[in-house]
Amino acid sequence: MRTLIGLFALLAVFAPVANANAEEVAVTIKDHKFSPDEIHIPANQAITLRVTNADATPEEFESHDFDVEKVIVGGQSAVIRLQPLDVGPYRFFGEYHEDTAQGVLVAE
C-alpha cells in the first residue's frame, strides 16, 4: 500500500506540466447526448477538452479514434488532453449510453 501511494505521488509530481496553455474546448453531456455533438478544432495543435456531465448518471467518455477513455461521474467535469491531431474526423462516444451519446471531433 505504501509503495502504491509512493508511486502515485511520484507520478503526480510530473502530472500538470504538459499543455498548460493549450486551447480549451467545452462539451456537455445532457440526457446522454453530447452538445455540441460536432466539435471543430484546429489540426496539429494540442488542445484541452473539458467534458461536463450534466446528467445524474456516470458516463465513460471514450474514443478509439483519438484513444481516450475516461469516466465522468454525474454532475462533474473532466479534462482531457489531446495531442495534436491530423486533419480529419474523429468519433467519440459515451460508453454507458452508446446508442445516443455519439459525437465527432473535426480537426481542420
Binding site: 484513444d67 473532466a78 488532453r81 454507458y96
Partner: protein
C-alpha cells in the same frame, strides 16, 4: 438489455482472462484457490471504492487522477508478474515435479500466490469499477432497470464462462508444457500492461515524449472488437500504439527474459560442455 450485456461481458472477460492465466500458472500449488478468491474479493471491494470515489479520483492531480491511478496499479502489476516469472525460473522445476506427488506441501509456493493475488486484485478492481459505475447509473436512472440488470447478469455469466473456457484450455496442456506456456503468457501480459501504463501516462500529460503513432491497424483488427480487446489484455495488442508504448513493451519483454535467464543461470551453474 443487449447494451448492458455487452458492457459487463467486456469488462468481465478482461479481468477473467487475467484470472484464468493466474489460475493456470499456479496449478498444483496448495492454497491457490484461497489466494485467488481473496484477490477477486478484494478486487470487487476495491472496484466499489474506486467507483464511489470516482469523482474525487478524477479531479485529483489537475484532472489526471484517473489516468495516474491506472498507470500506478498497472506498473505494480507489471512488477508482480515479472517477480513471479523470475521465481518460477528458480523454482518451477521442483514445482512441476511436486505436482505429481499429490498432497505435497509446497510452502515456498505461497510467495508467488500472494504476488499473483495482487495481480488478480488489480485486474478485477480496474475492470470492476467500470461495471459498478455502469450499474450505479442504471439504478440512478431507474428506467428499464430490470431488463438492464438481467443484461448485466447475463454478461457476467457469459464473461465468466469464457474465462473458465480459457482456463480449462490452458490446464488441458500436458503438465510438462504448462509452466512454459503460462510463463510466456505472463511475460506477454506484463509487457502489454507496461505499454498500457505508458499510454495512461501519456493521456495524463505526464509523459510527452515519443507520442507519435507508429502504425494504425484498426482497419485490420480494431481495439473495440471482442477479439481486439481479448488480444489487448492477453498480449497487449493496440491498433494505434505510440512509439513509447512500443518501446515500453519491448523493454519489458527484454528485462523479463534477461532476468529469467539470469535466475536459471544462478540455479544451474553451467556444467562443462
Amino acid at each position: 438489455m443487449l447494451g448492458a450485456l455487452v458492457i459487463v461481458f467486456r469488462e468481465v472477460v478482461e479481468a477473467g482472462l487475467v484470472v484464468g492465466i493466474v489460475l493456470a500458472a499456479t496449478r498444483g500449488i496448495a492454497g491457490r484457490g484461497w489466494w485467488v478468491s481473496l484477490g477477486i474479493l478484494c478486487g470487487v471491494l476495491g472496484a466499489s471504492v474506486v467507483a464511489a470515489f470516482a469523482g474525487a479520483i478524477s479531479n485529483a492531480f489537475a484532472g489526471s487522477g484517473q489516468e495516474l491511478l491506472n498507470a500506478t496499479v498497472l506498473i505494480i502489476a507489471v512488477v508482480s508478474l515479472t517477480w513471479h516469472n523470475v521465481w518460477m525460473a528458480e523454482h518451477g522445476r521442483e514445482l512441476a515435479a511436486d505436482m505429481r506427488k499429490v498432497g505435497t506441501e509446497v510452502s515456498e509456493g505461497q510467495k508467488p500466490l500472494a504476488v499473483l493475488a495482487v495481480v488478480v486484485f488489480i485486474a478485477v478492481m480496474r475492470e470492476g469499477s467500470e461495471v459498478v459505475l455502469f450499474l450505479y447509473g442504471i439504478v440512478v436512472a431507474g428506467t428499464d432497470a430490470v431488463s438492464l440488470f438481467t443484461g448485466g447478469l447475463l454478461g457476467l455469466a457469459a464473461g465468466a464462462g469464457l474465462s473458465a473456457l480459457s482456463y480449462y484450455g490452458l490446464v488441458a496442456l500436458p503438465t510438462r508444457y504448462i509452466f512454459s506456456v503460462t510463463g510466456l503468457l505472463i511475460t506477454l501480459l506484463a509487457a502489454g500492461m507496461a505499454a498500457q501504463a505508458v499510454r495512461f501516462l501519456q493521456m495524463a500529460g505526464t509523459v510527452t515524449v515519443f507520442q507519435n503513432k507508429l502504425w494504425d491497424t484498426s482497419w485490420l483488427l480494431s481495439d473495440s472488437s471482442i477479439l481486439g480487446r481479448a488480444l489487448h489484455v492477453l498480449v497487449g495488442y493496440d491498433d494505434k500504439p505510440t512509439a513509447l508504448q512500443v518501446i515500453a513493451y519491448a523493454v519489458t519483454l527484454a528485462v523479463i527474459l534477461t532476468l529469467i535467464r539470469m535466475a536459471r543461470g544462478e540455479r544451474q551453474p553451467r556444467t562443462a560442455s
